[in-house]
Amino acid sequence: MQSWRRRKSLWLALSASWLLLVLLGGFSLLRLALPPRPRPGAPQGWPRWLDAELLQSFSQAGELPEDAASPQAPHGGSCNWGACFDTSKCRGDGLKVFVYPASGPISETHHRILASIEGSRFHTFSPAGACLLLLLSLDAQTGECSSMPLQWNRGRNHLVLRLHPAPCPKTFQLGQAMVAEASPTVDSFRPGFDVALPFLPEAHPLRGGAPGQLQQHSPQPGIALLALEEERGGWRTADTGSSACPWDARCEQDPGPGQTQHGETLPNATFCLISGHRPEAASRFLQALQVLAALQEMSPARVLALRQQTQFLWDAYFSSVEKVIHTTLEVIQDRIFGTSAHPSLLWNSPPGALLALSTFSTSPQDFPFYHLQQGSRPEGRFSALIWVGPPGQPPLKLIQAVAGSQHCAQILVLWSNERPLPSSWPETAMPLTVIDGRRKVSDRFFPYSTIRTDAILSLDARSSLSTSEVDFAFVVWQSFPERMVGFLTSSHFWDEAHGGWGYTAERTNEFSMVLTTAAFYHRYYHTLFTHSLPKALRTLADEAPTCVDVLMNFLVAAVTKLPPIKVPYGKQRQEAAPLASGGPGPRPKPQAPAPDCVNQIAAAFGHMPLLSSRLRLDPVLFKDPVSVQRKKYRSLEKP
């Protein structure tokens, strides 16, 4: 009995062992016998076909080049650039635009927009000579609707500009006309043909426009990361503290965190989420949390770049009605120009395509703004441009001083007075060219083709400079090629008493303008001055010559958004001679230009671009109590 029991337990133990063996070993044996099934995790991949080498090409060798040709353009339901725009009328320099005059009474805004286009470089009065015919369709509130214009021609070469959503019924077929409007629908928008505009509020400023509100480059620590637009104009903010949702599971959180902020003012947040649709607020908040998760991963460098780019875009293209219209026209002009259109860099980095004219150049390094991005350097030479107004003494001493500079490449004399040209000029090693001017003050900033260097030293016949001063100022300009570098300065200030801008040429602790009777700047500013300023402003400068300085300073400040640079100037002479009287040129005493000059120009710009600086750039050892022998610019040291 016992042996049976023993045997039984023995059998039990044995069968247990066998079972274990089968369990553990069986699987392994099975795995060996069967082809291995890939583990999840390790991708199986597209098979390497044994006969991959034998596969045929998708097109037979002969087939590609033997395409049967049919020169018929593919047709579609709507227009594109090649089919519906006739570029044959657009020869010559730049886009010429004819604007249909308004029929009947028009609103003040309409009137001002018309005036703004008429004053711009694009405008022409002849519909026959125009490349683009512009039809303004904007008086939303008066219910004014345009009727079919005269030269309509099925809309060919027409641009219909709708600044505000048009309440007008379509009184005529748009046909081949391009449409520029806000929020076009995907169905009707023809990419590369129509132009999408930003949505403009009724009260959008006509020109100038408020500058961007960004006051610092990087976001302030502690402000909300994301603000979400709510239905009644309010904003709800969410911060990094709000728990974000994983991307795969749709959020199931209560939209609890965050505070709601009422009112029209934009929230103080790094990002704003604006949704085109109007789904339920709650679900949008959940979306926002998802967005938040993505934003939290964004590097500080990226946030910094995005912030700055929004400000740049706003300032360059969005902040006024005029900018929006000019951008539209510039976009169309780029399509016409084809190869000589703005490169993308010019559109997307400051100062933007409206201020970097493609008619000047399409190579970024020709402009003063892009040397850093291009890794290029401004040229090491300059041209001196000496303006000789009345009474018309040849500036012999000045020519000698300038010609003495090692950086001088050429001297141009702009003869602009009633006296006959002198027959002989002083002997210098420098090439000297005399230009017989048209006796207009704005001539001083004409882009003469004889100017062969990027840098211009603009001078007045009665300016007095030493070679050291010229040399040092030019070396400084090379570090700041987009700014004006000058010797004498003046300032603008807000005059509370008169409720307007004031001007002073007296010496103060700060300045916002340099006198162009002795200043270095890039020759591109001559092109901008002549071709981009409204005609009215250039006329103003011709009529009130002392304004020309102010105007040039406004222009450069509006482009660079930076103050000019002052370099040291021999004190004695500054007291004795310089500033102009009755014309650009030295005046016996510092004297304000026509009193309203600054105000008129500021009104035309739509804002005050001038910025003040409190510093002067001096040579590194300037007036230091060390031996003069150690100093490079010794003549600047004289008391």
Partner: protein, 728 residues
């Protein structure tokens, strides 16, 4: 194991009583069990090593062996392509959320052979190119074999060439894919769309919402922001290796090498040749060659025979005309040859036009302007032509193009920064770096160019003020003096003391000078110089004044003026002690210079203003081992900062005010440390070390410093804003 152990223990008691017969039987059995167990244990480990070998995963089969799928004649057909599809309407982005930090995941359907009711194949199973394309995807990080985690689905049904497939049946084959769902998130590749006589510009196969990567889109069929325009593959580009040819003038100005052109176009081109003589070359296929096979590699003009595509390298511009289809394989040949393409194909969407800036690498001429093409090209300045030629060297080659197509789709779905730098360095995916510059700038342009992180011209408001950061170890007396002096500066908004001494506690609160702004002490974990450049949360202003605990001579006017100067140059280092680097011609290396010279290229951060962003850069983005090197040597953190800022902005420093003595009025010209000869040697070493790590010398030398407008002018001192500017 347990069972056998138990048996073993009991064994000795049992065995002697057993009969010998049984004994032998049991011992044999037992050995078998043991052996089995040992074997089992070994198998537990072996299969892993077998599986991890690479070939184990990849199936090796023949294309002919793939399963056959019969499509009934009445199986469903998808809707025609939906022209209004956009990413937000037809694409399900939620499927792409499984790996938010990584990339989109692409699933490839298994290869099948589709036949109709009569067993007639629907199309060629797969072409060589489509197989290569799918292999490329499968080898990439985008690939997943888990259909549930996929964001994009790529059918293995080959639709590269519409001519080789039956349209209705192919559509039915698409519709029966397991995750088809109206084509949502499905991606089809097609290079030759349309067919005679009207040649549609997009694939005619009904495909509902599927994305199409197509060669030869026109503006009518291309769904902006949804479809992807890809180049048409040229078999020649793959076969022929052309030597690289640099920018510069070439033998011919303009070449047309297409065959099978419409007679009207050929007439126009030949008229150009008559008019402009030698500089224009119009080629056609060779009629008199005996070998038919080679004819695609030859082109003829009259009786002259030219090798194609080599002849393209001889021309500055190459005409790419529209044939029956808009997309021309010849574009690839032209790009490869470094010839600037002149694209004459109205409404053609150039490949990858969403990300590539074709304006920089091609000339697009409207068809009606064809007769003017010569004068249009002549008007392009030589410099611009060379720029275009440089661009061509980085146009995607064939294989990369396909990957680029994937990247483009990827970038449509994900915000771009989700692609982090790990991908950028990835050798296999040169197009993963996806900023505009990275898509479009050849490496040559990048050399010497910078993109300033603070590019927006902006003068921060004065009211923001600055945060002073004093790095200190144990010089408490001098530290308190510095704190007292700095606290007098009107624009100071906070003072931060970085206490770098771990062995000693900072003085008690009551002992610190009482100042009008918040004073915070940060204790550091290690005595490291880089602690002074850490982007502490306590820094709430953009402007930072770094100041040593022994700089006692700077006046309040000087500091306030320095802050004003920084506001005008917020992207630069604006500091007081100026230094210079020089090239030592004898030693053939850089040298550090602290003499009073006419030039300056560095300012020491013992007293300097800068933007707090540079703290972030210094701490997290300093190239190479510089940061560790500085901490190990306990020196040169200031030089490193100068290198970093100059390298990223491309701009020089600004030295402010004439001040040259900072520590004590009695000291000789140069302060204590700087006199030490070994110190000078060490500093020079730093410059050489950093220049080699940066791969360039980023420091810029200037001859100016910033003084107040009326400094040293003959003007009443009491009317000057900053009268107290020391001369040394």
């Amino acid at each position: 194991m347990c069972a056998s152990v138990k048996y073993n223990i009991r064994g000795p008691a049992l065995i002697p009583r057993m009969k010998t017969k049984h004994r032998i039987y049991y011992i044999t059995l037992f050995s078998i069990v043991l052996l089995g167990l040992i074997a089992t244990g070994m198998f537990q480990f072996w299969p892993h090593s077998i599986e991890s070998s690479n070939d184990w995963n990849v199936e090796k089969r023949s294309v002919r062996d793939v399963p056959v799928v019969r499509l009934p004649a009445d199986s469903p057909i998808p809707e025609r392509g939906d022209l209004s599809c956009r990413m937000h309407t037809c694409f399900d982005v939620y499927r792409c959320g499984f790996n938010p930090k990584n990339k989109i995941k692409v699933y490839i359907y298994a290869l099948k052979k589709y036949v109709d009711d009569f067993g007639v194949p629907v199309s060629n199973t797969i072409s060589r190119e489509y197989n290569e394309l799918l292999t490329a995807i499968s080898d990439s990080d985008y690939y997943t074999d888990d259909i549930n985690r996929a964001c994009l689905f790529v059918p293995s049904i080959d639709v590269l060439n519409q001519n080789t497939l039956r349209i209705k049946e192919t559509a039915q084959a698409l519709a029966q894919l397991s995750r088809w769902d109206r084509g949502t998130n499905h991606l089809l590749f097609n290079m030759l769309p349309g067919g005679p006589p009207d040649y549609n510009t997009a694939l005619d196969v009904p495909r509902d919402r599927a994305l199409l990567a197509g060669g030869g889109f026109s503006t009518w069929t291309y769904r902006q922001g949804y479809d992807v325009s890809i180049p048409v593959y040229s078999p020649l580009s793959a076969e022929v290796d052309l030597p690289e040819k640099g920018p510069g003038p070439r033998r011919y100005f303009l070449i047309s090498s297409q065959v099978g052109l419409h007679p009207e176009y050929r007439e126009d081109l030949e008229a150009l040749q008559v008019k402009h003589g030698e500089s224009v070359l119009v080629l056609d296929k060779c009629t008199n060659l005996s070998e038919g096979g080679l004819s695609i590699r030859k082109r003829c003009h009259k009786h002259q025979v030219f090798d194609y595509p080599q002849v393209l390298q001889e021309a500055t511009f190459c005409v790419v005309l529209r044939g029956a289809r808009l997309g021309q394989a010849m574009l690839s040949d032209v790009l490869q040859a470094g010839c600037v393409p002149v694209v004459i194909a109205d409404s053609y969407i150039l490949p990858f036009s969403e990300v590539l800036d074709w304006k920089r690498a091609s000339v697009v001429v409207p068809e009606e302007k064809m007769s003017d093409v010569y004068s249009i090209l002549q008007s392009i300045p030589q410099r611009q032509i060379e720029e275009m030629q440089r661009q061509l060297f980085m146009e995607p080659a064939r294989r990369e193009s396909w990957l680029a197509a994937n990247h483009q789709i990827n970038s449509l779905i994900w915000p771009r920064e989700q692609w982090d730098s790990q991908i950028i360095n990835d050798r296999i995916y040169p197009y993963a770096a996806i900023s505009y510059e990275e898509w479009n700038d050849p490496p040559a342009v990048k050399w010497g160019s910078v993109s300033n992180p603070l590019f927006l011209p902006l003068i921060p408001p004065q009211s923001q003020g600055f945060t002073a950061i004093v790095l200190t170890y144990d010089r408490v007396e001098s530290l308190f003096r510095v704190i007292t002096e700095v606290s007098k500066v009107p624009s100071l908004s906070k003072l931060l003391v970085v206490w770098n001494n771990q062995n000693k506690n900072p003085p008690e609160d009551s002992l610190w000078p009482k100042i009008r702004v918040p004073l915070k002490v940060v204790r550091t974990a290690e005595n490291k110089l880089s602690n002074r450049f850490f982007p502490y949360d306590e820094i709430e202003t953009e402007a930072v004044l770094a100041i040593d605990d022994d700089i006692i001579m700077l006046t309040s006017d000087e500091l306030q003026f320095g802050y004003e100067v920084w506001r005008e140059f917020p992207d630069r280092l604006v500091g007081y002690p100026g230094r210079l680097h020089l090239w030592d011609h004898e030693m053939n290396k850089w040298k550090y210079e602290s003499e009073w010279t006419n030039e300056v290229s560095m300012v020491l951060t013992g007293a300097a203003f800068y933007h707090k962003y540079f703290n972030y850069l210094y701490t997290y983005k300093m190239p190479g081992d510089i940061k560790n090197w500085v901490d190990a040597h306990m020196n040169c953190e200031d030089i490193a900062m100068n290198f970093l800022v100059a390298n990223v902005t491309g701009k020089a420093v600004i030295k402010v005010t004439p001040r040259k003595k900072f520590k004590c009025p009695e000291c000789t010209a140069i302060d204590g440390l700087s006199l030490d000869q070994t110190h000078m040697v060490e500093r020079s070493e730093c410059i050489n070390k950093f220049a080699s790590v940066f791969g360039t010398m980023p420091l810029k030398v200037v001859e100016h410093r910033a003084d107040p407008v009326l400094y040293k002018d003959d003007f009443p001192e009491k009317l000057k804003s900053f009268p107290n500017i020391g001369s040394l």
